[in-house]
Every structure is written in C-alpha cells, then in structure tokens.
C-alpha cells in the first residue's frame, strides 16, 4: 500500500496532464489553474526540508568535530545571519539583506562564473589533440571559429569569418538538432516509463 498509493497518484495525475495538453477546454484550463495554486501552496514546505537537511548535516559535523568542521560553523552562521537580517529589516532595496545580496552574493557568484574563462582555456588545451582524423577536423574547426570571432581573423583571410559562420550554422546546428531529437525521444520514453509505473526509482528503491 505504501508504494501503491503514491504510484496511483502519479499515474492518474500524469495521464490527466497528458490529456491537458490535447484538450484546450475551459474545464481543462481551470483544472490546471487550480493545480498551480496547490503547487504554490506546497512549495514553501520544501524550503523547510532543505534547511533542515542543511542544519542536520552541518550540526553533526560540528558535534563530531570532523576535519574542517569550522566551515560548517561559517555555513550555519551565514544561514542564520542572512535569514535573521531578512526577517528583521525586510528585503527591500537598501536593507542589510539587499546589501548582503549585492556585495557578497553577487560578486561571489560572478567570481565563480568568471572562472569559466580559465577553465575553458585549459579544457581546450587538453582536449584539442590531433589524435585521429575526427579529432583533427575538430581541432581545425575550433581554430577557425576562434579566429573568426576576433578582429585578427579577417586580417588573416576574408574567408575565415565566413567559414566560422558556416561551421556554426551548418554542421554545428545539424549536430545540435540531432542530439535534441534524441533527447526529446529519451524524455518521452522516460516519462512514459514513469507514467506506466515501469520506472519507479524516484519513489526510492525500485521494486
């Protein structure tokens, strides 16, 4: 029973939503609106779940004094601190919460994001080796596209930007579409498996 009831909910609601896609009728649209309000009502509880997990993991670490437990202190302190600041002074522009967001969260996020540039460089360095014919083609294409994007490309040859444009537009787009099609089908298959109850790992275990 513990398994069957959730499974039943999934199957019934799943089929209802499949039908919703094909049925534009008012009844179907109203049902969807109704469902949306439920989702909105349920989601805040999930936040609680996440915060509890965070607390449990880090408080255990601190309690047990596992290596690097100090980081857990910082994590929990930041969590409580940010939350408290938000509750006390609100989250409008100009509050300490927004100050934190603008001066801590945003620059740190931007820093992590900008690391991408370095990582891309080193990944490119490692990956582009003329190991085989295919790899050589990839290598040459990469160099053309890289040159085509910067002013020096046109200086070398007028053909480079055009070739770069062609590579992006034709072979690249073709491959992308091919993958996208496979992904679409894979998604459909997985969804169908879930709907039919074949795939039920998401409920824990499988059997």
């Amino acid at each position: 029973m513990k398994r069957q009831i959730p499974l039943l909910i999934v199957i019934i609601l799943g089929f209802i939503f499949v039908i919703h896609v094909f049925v534009p009728h008012k009844a179907s649209a109203d049902f969807y609106d109704w469902y949306q309000t439920w989702i909105k009502a349920i989601s805040p509880f999930m936040v609680l779940l996440g915060i509890m997990s965070l607390f449990m993991v880090h408080s255990t670490k601190i309690k047990r004094k596992v290596p690097n437990w100090q980081y857990s202190v910082v994590t929990l302190a930041s969590l409580i601190g940010t939350g408290a600041v938000g509750f006390i002074w609100g989250t409008q522009a100009g509050t300490p919460f927004m100050w934190l967001f603008k001066n801590v969260q945003m620059p740190m996020g931007a820093t992590m994001f900008s690391l991408l540039a370095f990582y891309i460089a080193s990944a490119a360095y490692k990956a582009f080796r003329a190991r085989s014919t295919e790899a050589t083609v990839l290598l040459i294409a990469a160099i053309i596209v890289m040159l085509g994007q910067v002013p020096i490309g046109i200086k070398i040859s007028k053909l480079i930007p055009e070739a770069s444009h062609w590579i992006l537009n034709v072979p690249n787009l073709a491959a992308k579409r091919g993958i996208a099609m496979g992904v679409g089908l894979g998604m459909t298959a997985t969804s169908l498996k879930i709907l039919l109850g074949i795939e039920r790992t998401y409920m824990g275990g499988g059997k």
Binding site: V47, A123, I179, M187, L192, G205
Partner: protein, 987 residues
C-alpha cells in the same frame, strides 16, 4: 597567535558580519531637517472628472543618497496612510528638479494581501501621524469608504454564492445589501471625490532604509473639469449618397465622458460660435473659482450655441468607444429620433457649413474640437471593405472569436546584397493571410526599369526570403518592380496581383521597399477598425485597430467575468463590506432597455410591487393634474414604469428565473444568462484612412444558418445567437496536436509490442554504451582507493525529466557502492530532490543487504544558488578527494566548473546530460560522457529488465520513423511537394 582552523573560522565569521554595523551607523550624526522634502505641492489634474491630484516636490540632492520617496494620504492632516512610493536609484539620483506622483483614476485601495492590523509607519513616534497601508480591519477601513469612491471587483462565483444578506434599517427606510468578506473581492480600488479635501505628505527614505521626517502635509482638492479637447477631427461629405462622415481622436482621459457629439454651423455663425465656446470655458473656470471662494459672483453664459447637433452617441465607458460616425442626409435633413435631431442642411452647398466635434461629460461640461469644413468626396473614392467573416477560433478554451476578411497579402520588408558585385540580392518578404486562404505558392515576378522581366520566383515553401540573381550589365539596378501573386487552397482569382517597388536609397545604400499596392489601392494607406458589441453594451466599442496588411484578428473574450460594484457601506460587527444586490443580466434585443435582477428573489419581488405602486399612483394622479407639463411628466412616468414592469415580469429570462424555487438554481440560471449575454458579440468593420475617408460595413450576419438551436434554455432568449451574435465555444480537442497524438499512440503501441517480445525472452540488441559499462569499474576504483564516490543528480528540479533519469542511475550506482561498502556523497540543489535522493540511497543500501552502512547525512542539500552550489561541491571534491565523480542530469553554466575541478583532483569522472550546450564541456573534461538520450537509456541498460529494454527499443524504432519522415519530407519539398510539411503544425 597561531592561526588554527577554529580561530580562522571565528575570524571569518566576524568578518562576514561586521558589515552589519556599517549601514546602521552611517547616519548617526546628521541633521534630519535637511532631509525633509521641500516644495510639496498638490494640484488638480486638468480635463478629468474631479478625481485626480498631482503631487510635486523637489527631490533631495544625490548626495543625500535617497532610495525611495514614500507618499501618504489622508482626510485629516494628523492621520495619513501610505499609498505608494517612487524608487530612486541611489547612484544616479533623480534627474530633473521636480518629482511627480499622480493620484488618479481607480487605483489600489485594499485587498486580501493587506496587513491585518493598522501600524504606525517606521520611525514614527507614539503620536506620529503617518500610518502604513490600510489594514484588512473593517472597523478602520469602513469609515474611510465615504471619503472615496470605492470600486469592488468581485469574481462572479463569490458574488453569487458567498454573499450574506444584510438589512440596514434607518429612520426612513430599510435597504438590503449583499455583504461580502474582504477575501471575496479580488481587489478594491479607490478614486478621489471631487471637491473633497485630501492631505498628502512625502517621506524620504535613506539608502539604509532610515525614514526621515515627513514634509508638512499639503492640501489638495480635486475639481471637476471639462473634458480634454479632441485634437484631430475630420469631416467628409460623400456627395453622391449625401452622407456626412466624421472621424476623431479620442481623449486620453475618458472615464467620465458621456457622449460624442458632432455639430454643424453655418460659416457666418463662426464668430458667434467662438464666443459661445469662450463663454463655456469661462463658465468652467468660474465654477472652480466659486468653489474655492464662495464670495465670487457666479458666471452665467449669455449666448446660445449657434451650432446644431447632428450626431450624438453614448460613448460606452469603460471600453474604448468607436471613433467614427456618419449621418445620412435624407430630403435635405439629418434626422435621429432617439436624440431628437432634426436638422435642415443644404446638400448643394455643404461647403457653406462648418463642423465641430465635442465630448460631453457626466457633469455636463462640453469641450469642442477645432472647427473644420467637410472635405468632399464620392463613393468611388471610399475604400472597399472585403467580405468578412466571424467564426469561433478553433482549439481554444473558448476565449477568442476569429474575425477575418479579404485575400492574402504579401509585401517586401528588406533587401540585402549578397556579393560585392551586387548581382545577388536577397529580398525578405512577409505575408498575412487568414483561415480561408492557406497559401501554397507565392509567385514573384521582378521587372527592371525598362519593364523587362528580370526574374521569376516560385516560392513553394515560404521561408520569408527569396534570392534574386540580377543581370550583370555593368550598371547597378536602381529600381526593381515586383509583381506578386498567390496560389492558395481556395481560388484567389487571376487578377489578384500585388505590386511593390524596391528602390535604391542613398542613405542606406541598399534597395528599400516602397508602398504596397493591391491594384490601384495603396495598402499602407488604410487601417481596419474592428467594432463589437455584446448583449449588455448599448453602443459598439473598438476591439482592435490593425494595419491595412492584416487579414485576420483574434478577438479576445474573457471567459471569466467579474462584477464591479461600488462599496459604500460596511458592517464592522460581521466584518463585511456591503454592495448592492441587484445586477445587470443583459439588455433587451434593441440594446436599449436594461434587464436586471437581484441576488435575493424577495427583494426582486419587492421592487416589482414598488413599481406597481408607483404606476398606480401616477395613473391616479392624472385626474388631479392640470398643467400640460405635469400631465406629460405623469405620462412619461407611466410609460417608464410599465416598460420596467414588463421587463421585470415578462421577459423570458425573468419568467424562467421566477419559476425556479431553489434560490441556488435561480442564481445559476441568471449567472449563465449573464455569461452568454456578456460573451456573445456582434461585429462590424470600418476601413479608414484615419481622416474620415472610410467605409463602415453593416453588422456581420451569417447567412443560411439557423440560430444556435441549442436545447439550452440559457440562450433561447438570444434570438440572434449564431447569426449575428457569436459566442466563443470551448473546444474539447486541439486539432493542431493531432500529429502528436498519433505519435504518442504509435509510441505507446511500439512499447507494448516490444515489452511483450522482451518478456518472451527475445534478445533485443542494444548498442553498447561505453560510459555505462565503465560505471562498475569506476565504483571499483573508489573502493580500491578507499575514497568516497560523488554523485550530482543534476542541478535542476524534480520536474525536469533529466533529473528523474539521473536519480534512476543514482539508484543503481548507490546499490553497487553499498555492495562494495564504499561511501557515496550526494549533494543536492533542489529541495524536492533531496528527500527522493535520500530515499533512493537508503533503499539501495537495504537492497544490497547493508542497511547498517546507510548514513542519512551523505545525501544533503547545499543551496539553490547556482554558483554557490558549485563552490560547495568543488569544496567537497578538494577536501574529500573523491575518487569517482558522477554528474547525471541537467546542468547549465556550472558544468565545466564542476568537472574541471574534478579532473584536477584526479578523479574518474562519468557524466551524462541532455543539455546540448554543456555536452562539449563534459566530453573534454570527463572520462566518459552519456550524450543526450544515452542518459535516459542508462537506467534501462543497467537494469536489463524486459520492461525497460522494451521501452528503450521502442525509442529506436520511433527514431527510425522520424528519420524516414525527415528524409521524405526533405525530398518531397525539394520537388515542390509540400503536403507532408504542411501536415505538421507550425509550432
């Protein structure tokens, strides 16, 4: 001091929160009086109905670092409520010397999101005069109602079924109201009342959200003004049919407009008329002046309007009214009985007359436009409106009607040379059509300046561009003439040709499209106005105004209706707001009389009795009356009451409603009746040049059709429904989705067949996937090294199918890990994924027979912030030195950041994602990558169960079918056969 970890942690902690002291201390020693807003001024807004005030003040200089200005309003200077704010960018400050805030129209007053209790504004002392927004508390808001005009917006269902009948007894009489709780209103909106005194103040808020003292409250009194002048008015005389046509521009503020009028005056009367207009302006100014200073003398205009009214129409607020009118001259007269218009006009000398347009408002102010004379024309010069058609729009939930007219139109939009020699030209085009004409081919014939045909293009697949090869004759082509024809599913006719030129433009140095001609008609000269009216409207309103190239309009009709009710009274004991219980159901078939009903049947009956009494009284009074005027008044009253009684007792809807004893059923019936009345529309079209040269069609009538002979009682009283009134239908199936349904069914049956096959033990071949085969080895490696495994199930939510696929793989990996007794770490970015992942890992340990090794805290939530999550996971990789990393699911920009770090710690990495843009990053940095669909196949591949394998194989077969369709489609459309492409919907 030695810096241990504990101390570092402590310092980090201090550092992180030391900033909190900063913003709080910065304003410690300032002179607050410098932060009070200056020059606060409250002024009446011109041309309105006496409901608008404009606040202005001098913004504080940028150095003061103000983040917002908050505005307060009240009816006494000592209790002002927050009503709105203007945000300011601290860095840039306010540009300009004055800031404005408008308190106009119906705007926010109260809704369920308001706070429960009244609170003083931040920084206010115990006796401070500023409060926050109005609370939900009826005892506080209730007394405010009389100082404003409050409009309650109530969803139909709440109004009908959630009301409470409240009787308010006063000395003179008893009034019945429908009482509603605040949450039954979707909102309440306020409007200021003319000649009422209001107080306003403004507070500046600093960057650190410190509220400075408020400015001395300013007084504002909104005044009723005359309407704004229409700044464009055109008059046209169509000679051969003796018709006057008028077109005007609407005013921006039209809330209180009552009528749109057109007057005619003789040229010789112009001076008199101008005097009259001046006097009217004087009168308005004097009215306001007298109100401000009652000692002033009241001004009375002396002259009479020499102009004669020839057209008048109710303008139908709150909708956008129509902006064209016409008056036919019959036997030298313009007659309109409804408005008592009977004006003589000399048809042969229309040029002797002048015309003027005016708006009148509910306060009877009238504003005239400039005087114009009529431009003469003949019917031949007027545009021709192509036949038009109204049908229900298919595949929707019943909220659109489809209005379509004419044949398709194609026009050039742009052109680009494709080579240096300028012999290859790409021309972009666009086309508009409607449901009647599905475009198959567009034929472009291009001529040069000498009229020689340059090229002929048959555009059998419309991709909005054609490529043209120009002859290489040395000199550039300066002008190209395009002739465009159509081939559609319905015949458009041989002579249906559109022409347009491409002309060289010095400025852009390219060929630029000119105007589009359909025969002799310049398509760009005209616009279409779609007018519509339902069973509750008195006049037509403007639904849409579209360009001359359009051929179809979807007219939106809201399928959920609301009731607008004035809220004047309240009941603070029961916590209710009181609104009137009577409501409009529809109008009579001639759209003049109102058929209304009441929430409470008894009240409705009471009204009938009252009217009967009145009627009897008036009939009786006739014997005693003497003067002719009194008699006429009595006759009018008798006529009015008998008509009303007829509508209340004898109209089919009222009869049915009266016959229903169950009040719920009665309301349900009235609700449906009102819904049909509100949503059934009749249409007409005007094609105009915007300057009075227009043709107006009759109301569209669907010929050869019976009215909707629905058994449904609700619409039997709507005689025209289906013929001239159109009610949008809710559709049960979206036909555009048919290919998807077929594909889904096909896929379903393939799955079914193949599962059966697999169950029978047939071996279904699946191509080996290296990444999946290596999973075992990778787990083994971690075991050998004694290091944990890291598994990231994507960074998306549970609603993403990729996450589900990732979790399915997690189940398998966790089981293997449990068997080998290797620790598995699962960091999660989504709250909902967390319990699911925990359950999966727990179950896997049970299945492996090692429930003792399951540690709940090995599956944990980090954060929802994208890059903070990356930082967290990277930290784990570096500190725990994980031996094997799995990334399975959806990833965005964080993909490379994760895998590159993993690769630097020397871990074996296996990834799988369907994010096309991230796949290259995974391939370069991971040892094995599951590309796109392989991610979805992985769990089936690992499980090797017939059910899973069957589905997997079905995907392969479906893919074959799709590939076949793609290839056939390509071949067919290359040979100009487009039926296969057209069989699929565009989106």
């Amino acid at each position: 001091m030695k810096l241990t970890f504990a101390r570092t942690g402590f310092f980090l902690f201090l550092l992180a929160f030391s900033f909190l002291l900063l913003p709080q201390t910065t304003h410690a020693a300032i002179n607050e009086s410098e932060y009070i807003v200056e020059n606060l001024d409250v002024n009446d807004i011109p041309n309105d109905d006496g409901s608008g005030l404009m606040l202005s003040w001098k913004p504080l200089p940028q150095e003061r670092r103000i983040i917002e200005y908050r505005i307060y309003r009240g009816i006494t200077p000592d209790s002002l409520f927050f009503i709105g704010k203007i945000d300011v960018n601290v860095k840039t400050g306010v540009m300009g010397d004055v800031m404005y805030y408008y308190d106009t129209d119906y705007n926010y007053f109260l809704d369920t999101q308001a706070k429960g209790k009244l609170k003083r504004e931040k920084g206010q002392k115990k006796d401070g005069s500023l409060y926050r927004r109005y609370p939900r508390d009826v005892s506080i808001v209730g007394p405010q109602l009389e100082h404003y005009s409050i409009l309650g917006v109530i969803p139909e269902k709440d109004y009908y079924y959630h009301n409470e009948k409240i009787e308010v007894v006063t000395e003179t009489d008893t009034t019945v109201y429908a009482g509603l709780k605040l949450h039954e209103f979707s909102g309440m909106y306020k409007k200021l009342i003319a000649n009422h005194v209001y107080y306003y103040s403004v507070v500046a808020v600093s960057e650190s959200r410190h509220y400075y003292p408020h400015a001395e409250p300013g007084i504002g009194i909104p005044r009723e003004n005359a309407p704004e002048k229409s700044d464009r008015f055109y008059a046209v005389f169509v000679e051969d049919v003796s018709r006057l046509q008028f077109e005007w521009k609407l005013a921006v503020f039209a809330d209180d407009h009552l009528d749109h009028n057109v007057y005619m005056l003789h040229k010789k009367d112009l001076a008199k008329f101008n005097k009259y207009v001046d006097e009217q302006v004087q009168k308005e100014l004097n009215d306001i002046a007298v109100k401000e200073d009652s000692t002033l003398a009241v001004y009375t205009p002396k002259s009479e309007n020499p102009a004669q009214l020839i057209s008048a129409r109710y303008c139908g607020y709150p909708y956008t009214p129509s902006q064209t009118a016409s008056a036919d001259i019959v036997d030298g007269k313009i007659v309109n009985e409804d408005r008592d218009i009977d004006v003589k006009i000399d048809v042969d000398n229309v040029s002797d007359y002048l015309f003027v347009f005016s708006f009148t408002d509910v306060a009877r102010y009238e504003t005239f436009s400039d005087v114009v004379s009529a431009k003469s024309t003949i019917t031949g010069q007027l545009p021709i409106v192509p036949p038009f058609l109204i049908i229900d729009r298919e595949n929707d939930k019943g909220d659109y009607n489809r209005v379509m007219w004419g044949k398709p139109v194609v026009y050039l939009t742009n052109s680009t040379y494709l080579n240096e020699k300028k012999t290859h030209l790409q021309v972009n085009y666009d086309f508009k059509t409607n449901k009647n004409f599905k475009v198959r081919n567009i034929f472009f014939k291009v001529f040069d300046e000498e009229g020689k045909e340059v090229v002929y293009v048959n555009e059998y697949y419309q991709d909005f561009k054609i490529k043209i090869k120009l002859p290489e004759n040395g000199n550039e082509m300066n002008t190209l003439f395009f002739e465009m024809r159509f081939k559609c599913n319905n015949d458009v006719g041989e002579d249906y040709v559109l022409t347009q030129i491409l002309q060289y433009d010095e400025q852009t140095q390219s060929l630029v499209p000119g105007d589009l001609y359909l025969g002799d008609e310049n398509v760009n000269d005209w616009e279409y106005y779609i007018y519509k009216r339902n069973y509750t409207d008195q006049e037509f309103r403007l639904s849409k105004k579209v360009a001359g190239t359009q051929r179809e309009v979807f007219d939106n009709i809201r399928y959920k209706n609301v009731h607008f009710k004035l809220v004047r009274h309240f009941d603070d004991e029961k916590n209710l707001f009181l609104v009137g219980p009577s409501f409009l159901v529809r109008r009579g078939d001639d759209k003049k009389e109102i058929i209304s009903s009441n929430l409470y049947p008894k009240e409705f009956e009471k009204t009938i009795l009252q009217y009967e009494d009145e009627l009897a009284k008036h009939i009786a009074s006739k014997d005693t009356l003497e003067t002719e005027d009194d008699l006429k008044n009595a006759d009018d009253a008798i006529e009015y009451y008998s008509k009303q009684l007829e509508l209340m007792r004898d109209h089919p809807i009222q009869k049915v409603a009266a016959s229903l004893d169950n009040p719920k059923e009665r309301i349900k019936f009235l609700d449906k009746s009102r819904h049909y009345a509100k949503n059934s529309f009749e249409y007409k079209i005007v094609k105009s040049n915007g300057k009075g040269i227009f043709t107006e069609t009759n109301i569209y009538i669907r010929e050869g059709v019976e009215p909707v002979s629905d058994e449904n009682i609700y619409i039997t009283s709507y005689t025209g429904n289906g013929i001239d009134h159109f009610f949008p239908r809710s559709n049960w199936f979206n036909v555009d989705m048919l290919p998807a349904v077929i594909a889904a069914l096909l896929f379903g049956s393939l799955v079914f067949i193949l599962i059966k096959k697999a169950k029978k033990g047939q071996d279904l071949y699946i191509r080996p996937i290296a990444g999946i085969q290596e999973i075992d080895n990778a787990i083994g490696r971690a075991t050998e090294m004694g290091k944990p495994i890291l598994f990231v199930p994507g960074t998306s939510s549970i609603g993403d199918v990729a996450t589900l696929a990732g979790l399915a793989i997690l189940g398998k990996v966790a089981k293997k890990a449990a068997e080998y007794d290797t620790k598995i770490l699962v960091p999660v970015r989504d709250y909902l994924v967390l319990p699911i992942a925990q359950e999966i890992v727990k179950e896997a340990h049970y299945e492996a027979g090692r429930p003792d090794t399951y540690d709940k805290s090995s599956v944990f939530f980090i954060t929802t912030a994208q890059f903070a999550f990356v930082a967290g996971v990277n930290g784990i990789m570096v500190r725990e030195k994980t031996a094997t990393n799995f990334y399975m699911g959806m990833f965005w920009a964080e993909a490379l950041l994760l895998t590159e770090t993993g690769s630097s710690t020397g871990a074996i990495q296996i990834s799988g994602t369907d994010a096309v843009t991230q796949i290259p990053f995974f391939i370069t940095t991971c040892d094995y990558t599951l590309i796109g669909e392989e991610l979805y196949a992985a769990s089936a591949y690992m499980a090797r169960e017939p059910l899973q394998l069957g589905t997997l194989k079905a995907v392969d077969y479906l893919k074959v079918i799709i590939l076949f369709l793609i290839i056939t489609g390509t071949i067919l459309s290359t040979t100009h056969l487009t039926f296969l492409i057209n069989a699929f919907p565009e989106k």
